[in-house]
Symmetry: C2
Subunit: 292 residues, 2 copies
């Protein structure tokens, strides 16, 4: 399988630039950590030598409980433009790029929209969403999951098809600092289900996309994960069914961030208690056996 | 397999009473049609001898596009009672009986509610839903599907876990007369996923539940259909995924009422154009072949 950089050379380049400018300084979750080079220099057996996979998160429906508000905000915006679309069809397209979303709805309705109308539609959605934003909460376990990853020296980032202006307030809600690694629609050429957002996010925190885990609630996250060469993990908290996520390529499906936190071992996140030297482990094991 | 009446004698009895009082006069969809006895007296080969299966519809998410409004109305009501529940968990329980819904959410939250608190919660939900009701629309094809069934002399009814006071306005929205066969929560002992609503609906329009088709958008409809002994058909228009509905026992899954209307033959609804006598058909076939 070719590396992502070979398959998507034009897309990885912006991510590389991001990496070269700020990733090694920003770190994961805004906390300090050892960069890739330093890690490689530590001794085998020490904490930092454990190769923890990076974790790249979607935002809406994955860390914050905002999907249904977005869905009804889109319904309101579309209805204001004279476009009546069934609500479930909007739900199934939340999380994909705005351009593809509009293309999809035009296919459904058979209509056409000018560039100005599309801009007005996006503005109307943003306004309708803001009216509903006070009912949006962090998903159960989201804060704790991110804190646990930081504690386990796992590099993580957030990658969303939304714009920075919409995503920044979510960081506050999650109690995250403004310099949290966050890749938004405005920073890449194509949003999900293209792989660009996750490639840029991996580059931003200096983690190998091929060993990274992408966590998302929609099939667009999972398609983007597969195209980026990462392992996709699904959460039910965006309202998709388990089977739908599995069929879209999810290696595992959890209910929400709290459920994922309880099963971090299943996606290869290790407890960083340093292992004892082998000889000592053998002595302890023999001692334990002899006691039975 | 025992008949529904044998398995649920106490539940079917009220449905029998409904049937004896008004079903034979009301007919299907409020239109006039031939009753069961008259049908049996018609000659083989005539229109009325075709045994069309009855069709029993869920309402929210199946005929009207109201699920997401109900979901966020529940979130608002629960939040007002200090209960924060993820929105997808509310979505997955829409359509089940109110009593089971409350039990399910108490299990999630570990809390407890008095009878007064449960009443207040239901009232708060009703008020929050009414605020959103002006955005509710009939689902695509719902009116046309019901009209086509009536035209095809198919007996049909609507059976909802909601109360009559909430369901009646939906009849207006669908352009249906007030005497449309409608079974609501207040008319049976247990709502979905118990079979009572569909058993009462079948009795109401005088159709055999074992040859009837239940059409619904949620796994509670499909579970109730199976327990009633009817064939379950799923619609995606309530926001469940196809695989989820299939796994819950859906014989077929369609996008929405419009999609079901295009595939009525797949659930055994026949076009009522009377078939030509066999000998005549043979002559025509032979004639057609000889022209090629």
């Amino acid at each position: 399988m070719p590396r992502a950089a070979d398959r998507f050379p034009d897309r990885v380049e912006p991510a590389r630039r991001l990496l070269s400018t700020d990733a090694r300084h920003t770190g994961h979750g805004g906390t300090t950590h050892q960069g890739g080079e330093e890690r490689g220099m530590t001794e085998p057996g020490s904490q930092a030598s454990v190769e923890q996979p990076g974790v790249l998160f979607d935002l809406d429906g994955t860390l914050i409980d905002s999907v249904y508000q977005h869905v009804l905000a889109w319904q309101e915006a579309l209805s204001g433009s004279g476009i009546d679309l069934s609500v479930w069809k909007i739900h199934r397209r939340i999380g994909m790029s705005g351009g593809l979303f509009v293309s999809a709805l035009l296919r459904e309705t058979g209509g056409s929209l000018s560039a100005d109308e599309i801009r007005a539609l996006n503005l109307a959605h943003a306004e309708a969403y803001i009216q509903r934003r006070d009912t949006v909460r962090p998903l159960p376990g989201a804060r704790e999951l991110l804190a646990a990853l930081t504690e386990h020296q796992v590099r993580w980032a957030i990658a969303t098809s939304g714009l920075a202006i919409a995503a920044q307030p979510a960081l506050d809600m999650l109690g995250l600092p403004p310099d949290t690694p966050l890749i938004t629609r405005d920073q890449v050429r194509y949003a999900k289900p293209d792989p660009d957002l996750f490639l840029a996010a991996a580059a931003r925190v200096g983690t190998d996309i091929h060993s990274a885990v992408v966590v998302g609630d929609s099939i667009w996250d999972l398609l983007a994960a597969r195209r980026a060469g990462a392992l996709g993990v699904g959460l039910l908290s965006g309202g998709y069914g388990r089977e739908e996520l599995e069929r879209a390529g999810a290696y595992r499906v959890y209910a929400d961030p709290a459920d994922l936190l309880r099963h971090l071992d299943e996606i290869g996140i290790r407890d960083l208690v340093p292992p004892l030297p082998t000889t000592e482990m053998c002595r302890r094991d023999i001692s334990a056996w002899s006691e039975h």
